[in-house]
């Protein structure tokens, strides 16, 4: 039953795309698709792969992940309070560690990020290392989610965080190698799809419903937004570091040849 629902959802996702592609291919371009059989086999593999992936996540990871998010923010798990004392934001340290670790690890396994990194490695002729790119995005994602969790604990408005992140991105943009900029901007959007969103949502919801004064519906939002922004910063930083290292090794090799 579950498998059937996932298949239906994924088909709903795929059908409009296939309709648009083949509609334009045959009505506007009026030329057959090259290697049609191969391409169709590939699309079926994408569909089956995604269905199996989601099915496996829902069977194993999502129930445990959301339960863990709940357990970690439950009262029983936090340090005992002295009578009348207020809860300090540092009491939630396990939440921050969990948010960081789960954000980083799920991003490494994110299928759409794998896709973009393969493409980037291909067209950069090996200058951009696909795995390093994914690690850079994962670190950014982990920071974004941790900050999102901290924001829910503190109850501060989302806008301040988003504006600050925008400012960092803008400053970095003018100091980064030009080649990395479009890829960095793209990596913000690709991180949040299949695997990360349900876990983040569970974490946000669990936190917002266990902390007094937060409403799950109002404060649960916003985590995805931060998770989208920080990978831009870390990928730009990856480009800056790579450029700096290339410069340094060039300077070294030129000084040794002198």
């Amino acid at each position: 039953m579950e498998l059937f629902n996932i298949l239906r959802d994924t088909l709903l996702d795929l059908i409009p795309i296939v309709a648009v592609i083949f509609g334009f291919q045959y009505l506007v371009i009026r030329r057959p698709v090259p290697h049609l059989k191969r391409v169709l086999a590939g699309l079926v593999m994408v569909l089956l792969g995604l269905v199996l992936f989601l099915f496996g996540l829902e069977r194993a990871l999502f129930p445990i992940g959301s339960l863990m998010a709940e357990q970690l923010s439950a009262k029983a798990f936090l340090p005992a309070l002295v009578e009348g004392a207020e809860r300090h934001w540092t009491h939630y340290y396990w939440i921050y560690i969990f948010a960081f670790a789960i954000g980083a690890s799920t991003t490494i396994a994110e299928p759409s990020l794998i896709a973009v990194s393969i493409k980037a490695g291909e067209i950069s002729g090996g200058v951009i290392n696909p795995f390093a790119l994914r690690v850079a995005v994962a670190i950014g994602m982990a920071f974004g989610i941790t900050l999102g969790a901290w924001r829910i604990v503190m109850g501060w408005p989302l806008q301040y965080f988003v504006i600050a992140a925008y400012l960092v991105v803008i400053v970095q943009t003018f100091r980064s190698p030009r080649n990395i900029i479009p890829l960095a901007y793209d990596s913000g959007g690709v991180t949040t799809s299949t695997i990360t969103v349900p876990i983040i949502a569970a974490l946000g919801l669990g936190l917002a419903s266990s902390i007094p004064g937060r409403s799950p519906v109002m404060d649960g939002f916003g985590m995805i937004a931060l998770a989208c922004l920080f990978p831009i910063i870390t990928v730009l930083a990856y480009g800056q570091i790579a450029e700096w290292r290339a410069k340094r090794s060039r300077a070294q090799s030129s000084s040794t040849t002198k």
Binding site: A60, I102, P111, L158
Partner: protein, 247 residues
């Protein structure tokens, strides 16, 4: 035989990709939380789930390289040969709109958002009002992604620098945030993230890179990427405007 071999190698890579998640979950379960698994999750579930995740990821990545990437690139080249910007832009809009309007993640977020809106008193607390809002929100977001892909493709044709447009977009987001009702801000910011699904991302990337390769004077790395970035900023702008105009 080479196909089977490449699948095997791919599945090893998938295992490597999944390993960090297992480590994190295992560590927290065994060291930090130290509580038995919930009753509705058995060890069999875990085994079956893990196996399907690895198998699924393997098939997906192979399918990308065999099916989705070539389709996107081939279309880009065909449009570039045809030389008609009108059809290309129409295609871009249809692709952006079509992939977003039925996106399951967006439907889920729109439903959540409708509840936030009625709790905030901006729409009536009836189911009909919530459904109307959710549908409107989905349409606004789908329109925004459609126009984002159009703008992104137009940029590739013209060769405009991406960062100036995106920074202008950020500025617009900041200005609109000042005027938008508080309840819609979180929703708007999140809508940027949920629109790009696992099937759309590879296809749109292949389209952009293919176009930048086919059009003379464009660099795939400089001009080919950026479509996803537009598709993440544009929904924020559209939803904020929607919030200002409608409420």
């Amino acid at each position: 035989m080479p196909f089977v071999y490449s699948l095997l190698r791919q599945s090893l890579e998938s295992m490597r990709d999944i390993a960090p998640v297992l480590l994190v979950v295992g560590f927290f379960q065994l060291v930090v939380i130290r509580q038995p698994l919930p009753e509705h999750v058995t060890l069999l579930d875990l085994g079956v789930g893990l196996l399907s995740v690895v198998l699924g990821l393997t098939l997906f990545v192979r399918g990308l390289q065999v099916g989705l990437f070539p389709v996107g690139e081939n279309l880009a080249h065909a449009f570039a040969r045809k030389g008609s910007a009108f059809w290309l832009l129409l295609f871009s809009f249809a692709l952006g709109f079509g992939t977003t309007v039925a996106e399951p993640a967006l439907i889920a977020v729109a439903g959540q958002a409708a509840i936030v809106m009625s709790e905030g008193g901006l729409i009536a607390p009836t189911e009909a009002a919530q459904d109307t809002f959710a549908l409107q929100l989905r349409m606004v977001v789908a329109l925004s992604v459609g126009s984002a892909v159009v703008l992104g493709v137009f940029r590739i044709i013209k060769g405009w620098p991406l960062h100036l447009i995106i920074i202008a977009g950020y500025a617009l987001v900041l200005i609109l945030t000042l005027f938008a009702p508080a309840q819609i801000i979180g929703i708007a910011y999140d809508c940027g993230g949920v629109t790009t699904s696992t099937i759309t991302v590879p296809l749109v990337t292949a389209l952009g890179v293919g176009l930048a390769t086919a059009i003379r004077g464009r660099s795939p790395l400089l001009d080919g990427f950026g479509l996803i970035a537009f598709a993440s900023v544009m929904p924020i702008i559209f939803v904020l405007i929607f919030g200002i105009v409608a409420y």
